[in-house]
Symmetry: C2
Subunit: 648 residues, 2 copies
């Protein structure tokens, strides 16, 4: 009987942002995915719409940015604050950047585009890689049992139209069902409300005509008649958020609602003396929302949850979809590395640890944000200070600006910083080695690698170094040659020693090499030796000085991943080599920066002559890797990674 | 009888680059276009593939770049030279940039993508705007006569499959038929051969495997066994050009051919000692080619020709498609401005004058290029000088490098510089005024406007100023406020005077204003007042200092076209206002730069208090405009311009 049950690597419930992005990754990497959603069709209008700066980088790294940006999202570079003015008017009291320069974001703006267009791009990618999102299907039951130890999760699904049921078995079940989750309920996982206050929100998308000057900006407007948030959208649209009720109201009713006309009338009053009329309304919704955080993201490390299943909060900071994206990619690579025999199974525990910590930070931030915008109105002096925050020392010390900085780093996505654990070796970690770089503010374990432009040697293209290795499930070894070393044949002993050490039998790098020696790697500079490692070498030299054939052996198969650090960068104009400077390397010594598959730094090791560098890297990897590849074939899983290749 | 004949604004013959781009423009602007091609389907493989830096800007300005780049063209940033080395080997003797920094191109590379993919994007745009490319149809006859004076061209067309014929009348006939042109032949227009030498070329596209290090670069390779040109392509492909025969050969036969195997064997020999094998061949062709230039591009200013109909040359510099693009847009805006009642009919004469001059320059260049690469091999010393050409004074004086510079400016498309005529007012032009800026090396009539980043005031987006006004058929008034002037209300008298002067009844600007006063311009910052003018105002101030409502009246309807010149630019780091500096404005005085619809500067006038600036602009426009709009309706032609809106 059980042999007739269809077997999958994973069953994904829900085709919102978290389920779709997880499905994109696993489908590309060759996993067998069963993916269902209980809605008959994808999102048509409205819902989430904000793609934060770090999320844009993630989409770029997945090769999906250009397809999403083909829909011409609105771009929010600055936020404007409007406050009550005499005679019932409103006035702008300040503006500030969505992603200020000190954050050094590659895309320093929020992109606004409705969720349906984003879903469409993800679904197209999923289908191209052989997975179908089946609709309208729902989950009716699941259990983890030993009927088939390789596929321990039994899942019962039902078609909502036909009532046909199906039982499948899988290695994993992942719930991205949204705030109302059958899986979470069945598991008995509780939602904690960090803030006991709940709200009713109204949200309206449409095309308006107005003489309000900041209608193309993100604005928070406080007036004597209430508050509103304005967010520009694609296709000349605008979104208005209005808080309709709060549980702090004396007559609070969580089912309180408001008609389109009522919300429009309220907006008109708030914006006076500016006029506001509507050409058309595209979408309107009223919904109650509370702050909630799930106690657990998994109980048995087979059934996992993510996205709104685990965390709900106000829509004001535009974080929902972004947190979902992070949940998805965080789980994707960890499951991949366990299932393909690279990481020990217990590394899956870091999914909940890392993502729940971020959600907690988000909810704490959301609390502050709500307090800031619903209760406290910044004075003109404070906010005009914020607008010029990079100019004066006094401004730097303004506590309001300090709080703003901390918040905008987090809301941009650059504040997603994981604590030390088996993947992120901070100075508190058990494994220590004198070659580790632990005190650099530019290379912090758990944070992303700073962006840098370099020249690719093989074709002289100017590229984004941080994006050169796509999200392919592999660990990234970013090797920096150092300022003093010559790229000429035999003149860079540290690099030769590194190459020899990595290629030596038994090294962490060699243990996971393809066993199929006839494998064709001629056109593959992403994963020529193993699906678990991608290498990028950056040399502080002019492009014509670098001959790839003269580099140590390791790099011959990475010919399209060798870079000249010869570009001027306006942020480090005095640097001899700007990509080196961006990661804090200003001396002759180079470094190997190990970056996790999701772009977060794992560990940084100085590049020195001798065996020390490889030994330090060994020390890192042996904390979580298995003893070698145990997958039967090199050509099965991972066959889809070529398609991940992101283009600049 | 003649009343039953279908009437069109234009009949376009041929759906190669020139015909398609012309059709794109005219279809967008609401013209009734009859467009035919004698091939049953669009180009499937091969043919032209090089999009030069300036052409990329043109596609960007048309809003087509992202769709074309979605096909991931290869990017050529540098060219490598390989020459014979001892023992029958080859060695790299130098490299240089495709588009060196001094040219200041926004996209400093050539994009390589096969013509069919580019055609597909253009055809999609044409169809979206209501024109269909009919296939396989051919032209069998045409005549200019007075049977219908409004539609003086009678054209006879035939379906090649069904032999069905159709007679139509049109205001214009445009031939983009390619080198073998029925229209040119019927007109009796001669092709002159500037160079009596003709060649037979072999060209092959495919995927190779090789250890030749520069396979991802554009290379010219000379060896003891012959010469070859290597060009990288999309999808990991490479294109090889091999000269098979020359009329200078003693046994020259223009029908000489070579098999795929013969060309592959020749390439293998030339590249030795590097190996070269073929995974697959995508396209292969052998064709004879000579340098030819048509005597005339039109005889009666009703039947016009462009693209390969008028000029043929070697494929080596990748200029064919680019020259076709320029031909198409040059004709498109001129015909548009005549047909919509803005320009005098005799301005159509400038089409042949400007485009034939460029073709002549191209053919002269092609001669030199052929001499350089087929006969003369640069010495190692010369070329290594070229690679560092921006470093030393000696290198600057090397005649080889001087020639390279002149050539790369032309091949990048930035050397397309039109001589003085009714549209390009140089210092030799009859109309003179003391406020004209004629001596600035950065603002030369007939050249394109230098690129600059600015901050758009209305939404704080960082944008490309030169691209903010799309190719909408309108003249562009780029207004620079100057460094000394305050953007505050009433404090910029020169700007107020300009606004008042332009809005005054009877000004060149007002004469062409929409007559329909109820026209809805709320969402139109491109053409709020007239379809013939678009305005962009750049102020040397920080974005928060600029309040659009405080600017003079003209700019209120251009709210999305007001910019803060507050970005740092690595090319003009010391500038107080980098966009001003890019056009040579470093003093307190501003300027109005009139840019033709195709991006070339027409005239530049100082912005001064009083009436002088508007009077100087009047002097320019009255040399070619009619006395006012004579079109019956504001909503007919030009209705499609909203779709031209290019996105950053």
């Amino acid at each position: 009987m059980s042999s007739e049950i269809p077997l999958y690597d994973i069953v994904i419930i829900g085709a919102g942002p978290v389920g779709l992005l997880l499905s994109v990754c696993l489908s590309r990497w060759g996993y067998k995915v069963k993916h269902i959603d209980n809605r008959p069709v994808p999102t048509a209008t409205g819902r989430a719409d904000g793609i934060q700066p770090r999320s844009i980088e993630i989409l770029k790294n997945l090769g999906l940015k250009s397809k999403i940006f083909a829909h011409h999202p609105a771009r929010v570079h600055e936020v404007a604050f409007w406050d009550p003015a005499p005679e019932g008017k409103i006035r702008r009291t300040g503006t500030w950047a969505s992603c200020p320069e000190f954050l050094d974001g590659r895309y320093p703006f929020t992109a606004l585009l409705h969720q349906g267009l984003i879903e469409r791009v993800l679904i197209e990618d999923i289908e191209k890689n052989g997975t179908i999102v089946q609709r309208p299907w729902t989950i009716t039951g699941f259990a983890t049992n030993h009927a088939n130890p390789d596929y321990p999760v039994e899942v019962e699904l039902k078609n909502i139209d036909s009532n046909v049921s199906e039982i499948v078995r899988a290695k994993y079940l992942y719930s991205g069902e949204g705030a109302r989750s059958f899986v979470r309920e069945q598991l008995g996982v509780q939602i904690r409300h960090l803030d006991p206050i709940s709200y009713v929100w109204g949200v309206m998308d449409g095309v308006v005509r107005t003489n309000f000057p900041d209608i193309k900006m993100k604005c928070t407007i406080h007036s004597d008649h209430g508050s509103i948030m304005v967010i520009p959208r694609e296709n000349n649209m605008v979104r208005l958020y209005i808080q309709i009720a709060s549980s702090t109201d004396p007559d609070f009713n969580p089912r309180k609602t408001a008609t389109v006309a009522e919300v429009q009338a309220a907006a008109k009053k708030i914006l006076a003396p500016y006029y506001l009329t509507w050409d058309r309304v595209e979408w309107y919704s009223v919904y109650p929302i509370g702050q909630g955080l799930a106690d657990k993201y998994t109980l048995d490390h087979r059934v996992f949850m993510g996205g709104d299943v685990c965390h709900t909060h106000s829509p004001k900071a535009g974080q929902g979809m972004n947190t979902a994206f992070h949940d998805a990619i965080n789980f994707a690579w960890k499951m991949h590395l366990v299932e393909s025999g690279f990481s020990n199974r217990d590394t899956l525990e870091t999914y909940e640890v890392e993502r729940r910590f971020t959600a907690e930070t988000l909810l704490n931030f959301d609390n502050k944000y709500a307090a800031l915008f619903s209760q406290r109105q910044p004075t003109a002096a404070e906010v005009s200070g914020a607008a010029v925050e990079q100019k004066t020392d006094e401004a730097e010390k303004n506590p309001f600006i300090e709080m703003f900085k901390a918040n905008c780093e987090f809301t941009s996505g650059f504040g997603v910083a994981y604590n030390g654990n088996v993947f992120n070796h901070t100075s508190e970690h058990a494994f220590q080695n004198p070659l580790l770089i632990t005190d650099s503010p530019k290379l912090r374990a758990g944070r992303i690698l700073p962006p840098a432009d370099v020249t690719r040697v093989v074709d002289a293209n100017v590229v984004h170094l941080e994006n050169e290795i796509p999200f392919n499930g592999a660990f990234r070894l970013f090797i920096y040659g150092g300022l003093g070393a010559s790229p000429k044949k035999g003149q860079h002993k540290a690099l030769s020693d590194l190459s020899a050490g990595l290629l030596a039998p038994g090294s962490f790098y060699s243990r996971f090499r393809y066993t199929n020696r006839t494998r064709d790697i001629h056109h593959d500079s992403d994963n020529p030796h193993s699906r678990f490692f991608s290498v990028a070498l950056t040399l502080a030299a002019k492009r014509p000085e670098i001959e790839i054939s003269e580099l140590p052996e390791l790099f011959h198969d990475y010919s399209a991943r060798v870079y000249a650090d010869d570009r001027r960068d306006i942020k480090v104009l005095d640097a001899k080599a700007s990509a080196h400077a961006k990661v804090g390397l200003t001396g002759n010594e180079g470094a190997v920066v190990v970056v996790r598959p999701d772009g977060h730094v794992g560990i940084s090791v100085r590049l020195v002559e001798g065996k020390g560098t490889v030994e330090a890297l060994e020390g890192y990897f042996k904390t979580f890797t298995t003893q070698g590849s145990r997958t039967p074939s090199d050509s099965g899983l991972g066959g889809g990674v070529d398609q991940v290749r992101a283009q600049l």
